[in-house]
Structures are given as structure tokens and as C-alpha cells.
Amino acid sequence: MALSLSSQIVNLLAALLLLLAFAMLAQRRVLTLIKLFAWQGAALALSTAIVAHATGQTHLYFSAGLTLALKVILIPWLLHRLIDQLNVRWDIEMLINIPTTMLTGIGVAIFAFSLAAPISQMASTVTRSTLGIALASVLLSFLMMIVRRKAVPQVIGFLSMENGLFFAATSATYGMPLVVELGVALDVLVGTFIFGIFFFHIREQFDSLDIRHMEKLKED
């Protein structure tokens, strides 16, 4: 079955997205993690724009622009400033070592693909084959949140999970209604701000952003 050019490009970008998700899972440095996150956003914006071009859904252009502005420029810049001020640009501690995490990630990805296969066959969009990838990147980001010990990478994991969801929406149904997308984008932005404020508070309280210290908050 010959695929159209746009479809091939979207597939390529989807593969890139998955690759970036794995790269983030394996990455030890916070700065690089933010860069990877920005790249993921860029791939997402590009693929959205191509889907918009291929299908003529004009509102997807807005989504692409929004993604570009928020997830490639604004949020990475905010995160940069944040880690500069908090002085936490060093290595990240993991709860589980990287090879194990990667193997788990591969298992999760396979699971996501097997899950998405029947849905993809039902869908009629040009992007349907990428649903598995979208699901896989959501789950991989979730995994990343679980295995990180510091607060900043957890937030990046959370944001990249949103990337995956957005991609899933684009690939399954050509995106959500514009109002919803605007709302989600605003949420992500506000969320980032709130996380930033929390970081300062957490560090003030515990002199560290290591979430192990928050175990003390548990009631006995």
C-alpha cells in the first residue's frame, strides 16, 4: 500500500517522537532533558502542521502554532530559568538503573502497540498508524515520572505526557476542538508556573528538591 508523502512524513515524525521519548527516559542531565523536551514539542508541532496541510483542517494550524510557541519556546525557557535559579542543573538520580528502565520501556511500548492495533484498524484518518506511538509515548512519560527522584524531571515527564496525549488526539481524530486545545494549553502553562512556585517552596522547606524528603509528610 503506497502511502502519500505527508503520511510518510507524519510516520517519520512519529518515530522521532517515540525515539525522543526513549531518549528522555534514558537521559541523566536536566539541561539535555529540557532540550529533548523542546525537540519533542517541535516534532509534534511539525507533524500537526503537516496533518493540517494534508487534511485541510485549518484549526490544526492554530494548534501547531500554539504547540510551537508554548512547548518549544516558552516552557523550555521557563524551565531553564527555573533550574538556573534553583541551581539544580546537575545529574538526575534514578530509582531504577537505566538499562532496566529501558527494558521496561520497551515492554510498555510493545503493550501500547498491541493495544492500539485494533483501534487503528477501525480509524479512518491518514494518521491512524501513529496511534500506537502516541500511546507508547504517553506511557513512557508516565514511566519517566515514576523512576525519577527529583522534582524537575518529574514535571518534564508530566509535560511530555501531555505531548503524547496531544499527539494521540491528532492521530486518532485530527485533534480536539480548538476550545479544548486552548484550554489544555493554558492548563499546561499555568501548571508549569505552579510547579515552579512549588519547587521554591519545597527547596525552602527541605533544602533540596529530592522528593524522598516529602515522605516525612506522611501521617502515621
Binding site: 485494533p118 508516565f142 514511566l143 515520572m145 525519577r148 527522584r149 516529602m214
Partner: protein
Amino acid sequence: MDSPPSLLAAALLAATAWLAIGLLGLLPAGAAFVRRALFPAGAAASLALAALGAQGVWYPASSLVLPLGLPDLPFHLRLDPLAGFFLLLLGAVAAGVSVYSIGYFRDEAGARLRLICLQYHFFLASMAFVLLADDAYLFMVAWETMALASYFLVTTDHQRPAIRSAGFLYLLVAHIGAIAVLLCFGVMHGGGGDYTFDALRAAELSPFWASVAFLLAFFGFGAKAGLIPLHAWLPEAHPAAPSPVSALMSGVMIKTAIYGMVRISYDLIGAVRWDWGILVLVVGAGTTLFGVLFALMQHDLKRLLAYHSVENIGIILLGLGMSMVFFGFGHREAGVLGLIAALYHTLNHAVFKGLLFLGAGSILHATGLRDLNAMGGLIRTMPATAFYFLVGALAISALPPLNGFVSEWLTFQTALQASLIEHGVVRSLLPLFAAVLALAGALTAMCFVKVFGVAFLGRARHSAEKAHGDARLSERLGLAWLTAGCFFLGLFPAAMLLMLNRVAASLTGSSLSAQALESNWLWVVPTQPMQASYSAIIFLLVVLAVVLITVRLVRVFYHGRIRVADPWDCGYPEQTTRMQDTADAFGQPIRHVFGPLYLMKRHLPGPEDANPRYSIKIEDRHWYWLYLPLARLVEYTSSKIGLLQRGRISVYLLYSFLTLIGLLVFVR
């Protein structure tokens, strides 16, 4: 007669007026404003509501949709004869209690009184909305508001730990009951997504699901009404609340549970089954006996009255259960009679139990006492309260010509219809339940002989009651209003019979026999004139005549030879007040006869004890076989579930991750 929605609108206005009065109480005005303006205004709204309710019984049902509530889920209101009758009950009792409160709360500080005023009027309004609600949504909102408002009223003196724990117990049982009621609505609506009562009426339930719905309603409303074994909150919460609130809770609030049971089983489910009736009868008989036997053992006046509320709910259920049995077997006339007896007793209990709680409140206010063993001779310092309390005591003891007698007599008449039933076992069971009722009536009379004798007669055991005099004017007005209610309901039963017949007819579509409907102001005939008839007025006249003639005869034959002397003192050199019969001593024979029922913790003084003290504590066995094991089970499970809380974000995220994976695997 055409249906006037204006009646319903006026009732809505009166209920809203209560809300407004409650909010006005928050104004930073003095306590005098709250007492002199707001409580009388509340009483006026109560009277209006009672009048509207009494009117509503005689008109066809009218309904109204309010543009309030959630989007696409407006509040539905409906005033039908059943709701009208209960509104009459609510308004009539609340009017007396509100007037009484003017005097009762005279010593409250401004801030506290403002809060009481808010909670009190919200409590009243929420009960009105429970009765007016025509969809499950508004019903549950009002039901929960009622529970919360009364919880805050119960914990008015929240500084004391005992009252806080009583309030907690009440709130817990109320919530468990509310969950069951909510589930009952869920079962009844059968998947249509429409929770108006019209839709619930229209839903066709299979017998199994109808029974499930009935059991849930019986359990849920039973928790509010205080059926065994869910009664535990009643003897704790009623003494804890201020007396007017106890009167309202015991008089009206637990009756809303009866309203709920009748509404759901007769109206919403529709086809009543006889095996439900047997269940109601068994639970009702147990509740009746338990309530009166434990009431006999109490020496705290308000606890004693609370146990009598348990007993009277049982009596109401006996009537209701018999009605269900008769309807289940298709004897509709007898079924209607049972329903009328139950509803009549609901109203009667509201009136005389309100009166008794208010009387107990006056005693508490004047002497600071709730313990019967410390009272005595109160008739000399509080003659007016003594009279009103005596009327209430006679009414609850079901003595003619007062109101308690009429409804219990109607319940007996229902039981006597048992010969109509073809089912042999059931036919022979019904008289047993009537026997339980008779036993409970006798024990109640004994209990109130004890209360009146120990509290009001004899010599004062306590000197503090000299400090305050009798009840104030407004307290007396409230007491007199309810006393008049006792007399009216007892002397003119035919009016109530016809009114309740109308309620029952609108619910079930059948009514009493033609002869019964010919009951007039003089004679009440529940079934056939040759079977039974009762004339309260003739009875009253005969009693009065006999008393007057006796007094006259005594005067004639024993004239003037009255010698003032000390009573015979058995040769003891001195008499102390401790030589009188106490409340505990009075109940002692019953305690021996029914010994295995009670859990006694008794301390008897030894022969060489220099300072002998006797104490007895009667405990409820339910605590040990039901409540405490249940509490331990809950504690154990929650400690196990608490292990899930590790305090680590990663673990929490892992939980969500695994849940997500699990859902994706199983729900695709």
C-alpha cells in the same frame, strides 16, 4: 375541586420564609431580636404551613418545577394528601416548639443564639422540603440538609466530649442510612436516567428488584427512625440536644423517615407485598419491646423519653406492617385501616412526645436536673409544667380519652381483622403482634407512673429547684398548644379518620368501608358498627361524671373530718428523702423479669461499708454484638488499607500507572 398550585406555592413560600428567618438570625442584632422577632415569625410560618398542609389533604395533588438546581436537573415539588398530612404534623408541632423556644433560650448569649436560630430554621425548612420534594435529587439534598442541621443542633454544647461523640454517632448512622436511601432510588429508577418521582412511579420493577428497593428503603429510613439495631444514636443524641431540638427531632424528624417509608413502599414502588409486612412487623415488635423495656431502666429523663421514641416508632411500624400484610393479601379495607392507624399514631406521637420533651426541658431549665433520682416534689414548685407533663404522660400511656389511645386502638382493630387472611400462619401471627403492643402499652403506663411519681410527687431530693420557679409564659404557651393537640386528637378522632382516609385513598386507591366513613364527631367506627365503636366524648363525660360524683360522695359522707398530721413513719425516728422510691427501684421488678435482655453493671455496698453507695448501669447489648465488632472491623480494614499510603510520590505514580495499564488491558 380543581387543583390549586397556589396552595403548593404558598407552602413553598412558608418553607422559604423559614430559610429567610434563619438567615436573618445571622444579622448582628441582639439576642432579644432573635428571640422576640425571629422565633415568633418562625412560629407564624409553622402555623401557616400546618394550615396549608391540612388544606392540601383535601385537594388533588399539584406540582411545580422550580428553575433551581443543577442544569437539566430542576427541583420538582409536589403537594399531595400524604405530603399535606405530614406538613400539618410538621407545622403544628413546630409552632408549639418555636413559641416554647422564645422562653427556653432566654439565657443564651447573642452569638450562640444567632447560630441556633439559623440551624433551627434551616432544620425546619429542610424537613418541609423533604416532604414537598418530587424528585430523588431534591429529596436527598433536603434529607442531607436535615441531617446536617440537626447534627449541628445536637452539638450545640460541643465543648463537652460526650456531646461531640453523640453527635458523631448520629451523623454516622444518618449517613449510612442516607447511602441506603440513595441506593434505593438508584434501584427504583431502573436505568431510565430520570429521577423524578413520576418516573420512579412509572418504572416497572421485577418482584426481586422491588424487594431490594424496599429493603434498602426500610434500612435507610429505619436508621433515621431508630429501628433496632440502628437505634443506638437516639438515646445518645436526643439528651445531648437542647430540649426544643429534642422535641423536634423526636417529634418530627424521625417521622420524616416514616414518611419516606410510606412514600416509597406505597407510592413509588406501588405493589406492596405481604412478606415485607411480616418483616416490618417483626422489626416493629422488637423495636417496641426493646424501646419500652430500656426506657423503664433509665433514670435520665431525656434518655428515657428517647427510648420511648424508639418504642413508638415500633408501634407505628406495627400498624404499617399490618397494613402491608393486608394489602399484600388483597384485603384493601383492612390495609387502609392499618395505614390510617400508623399515620394517626405518627401524628399523635409527634404531639405528645413534643410535649413531653418540652416538659423535660422546662424541668431541666428550672432545676438543672435530668436525673430522675435527684428530682422529687416538683409539682409544688412547677404546678403548670406538672399538669402539662401529666397530660403528655397519660397520652403516651394510651389512656382514653387522650390521643395515644385512639391510634393504638385503631392498630388493635386492624389486628382483629386477621381472620380475613387465608394464610394460616400469618393469621395466627397477627394477634401475637397485637399482644406485643398491649404489653408495651402496659409497660409504658408503668414507666410514666414512675416518671411522674418520682419527679413530681413525693418530697424534694434536691434543693436547687427553689432557685427558679415554674415555666415562663411563652414556654407555657408552647406546652399548652401541644396539650390542646393531645385533647383535640383524642376527642375528635372521626375528623382525623376521614382526613387520613383521604390520604390513604390517594395513595392506594381504596378507602375504608362505607359504615366507617359515616363516623361522626361523636362515634368512631373503624370497620362495622357491631364490631367496634368508640366515642371519646361520651367516655370523657362518663369519666368526669364518675369523678365528680365520687368527690361529691366523699365530701358528703366524710365531710370536714380532715386532720393534719405527720404521715405514719414506720416507727423510724426520722425520715429522709432517700427513703423514697427511686426511678431505679421502681423498674427493679421489670429488670428481674426481663433480666437476660439487659447487660447490668451493678455495684452493691458491702455489709461493713461505712459509706454505702449503690449504683447500677444498664448497657445495651447491641453495642457488644454489633457496634463494637463492626467498629473494630472498620478499624482493622482501614489500618490495612492505610499501608497503601507510603508517602512516596513514585509509589503513588506507580499506582496510577498500574491502574491505567490494568484498565487498558481489561476494558478495551
